[in-house]
Symmetry: C2
Subunit: 136 residues, 2 copies
């Protein structure tokens, strides 16, 4: 069902300070940077082998990641698993009784197709599934 | 420095209920199950491609994972990156000024060598580095 961990999503207050940690101290390469208005974040992808770290900084305090930071502080926000057919995967998860945040896939970072599962039926873990765009 | 995401560590209250989610609904294969007395957990590894999910259930409430659950509830606990030479990696991280929980590697699950970095200098993310035992 899942090919690999696509990325770990990390909520940060200061994107440039976080980049210094991941690029300089962890020696990860910056792969992509994008403002995702729909999700209210500026986001960065860094490469770790075939996996990624996604750093998420809120565009404003009253946004999902802004409220997460206010409630819990910076740290791990979600995990994303890679799939090859997100429509079939969503159908299978729905049939298994999992609660979905996104009933249909929407466009994510770097033109991927993404959907979030609700942490209430995923053991408290905000879980995303990602079908990358061709070439990624 | 890091080859890939080795695993996502997830704190759970009920290991068998969590296994039902990951094995049945997420179709992940159980790779290993072990009681790690030193860390006060019963732990399970599931395969996701070349990555893993590590489920951690506390052996008693007064343990690191037990206290995490009391404070934050079930959910993501740490991320672990895979390395080929943990001693050299720890030296490089120390030289970069990162705060380490483990100054020297210790034995982790499935005879790996592991060390944890302190979340205070890792952006609030409890970060582990793992050198797997030969053959894993």
């Amino acid at each position: 069902m899942f090919s690999r961990v696509d990325h770990i999503g990390v909520a940060v207050e200061d994107l440039d300070a976080a980049l210094a940690l991941y690029e300089r101290d962890f020696d990860m390469s910056l792969a992509h940077r994008e403002t995702v208005d729909e999700q209210g974040v500026e986001a960065v992808l860094l490469d770790v082998g075939e996996n990624h770290v996604e750093l998420l900084a809120p565009l404003e305090p009253d946004s999902p990641v802004g409220r997460f930071l206010a409630r819990r502080g910076p740290g791990m926000h979600h995990v994303a698993y890679q799939v090859t057919d997100i429509d079939a995967t969503l159908d299978a998860l729905r049939a298994g009784g999992l609660r979905l945040i996104d009933e249909q896939p929407r466009t994510g970072i770097r033109d991927s197709r993404v959907a979030f599962l609700h942490p209430a039926s995923s053991g408290g873990v905000l879980t995303e599934i990602v079908q990358p765009a061709k070439g990624h």
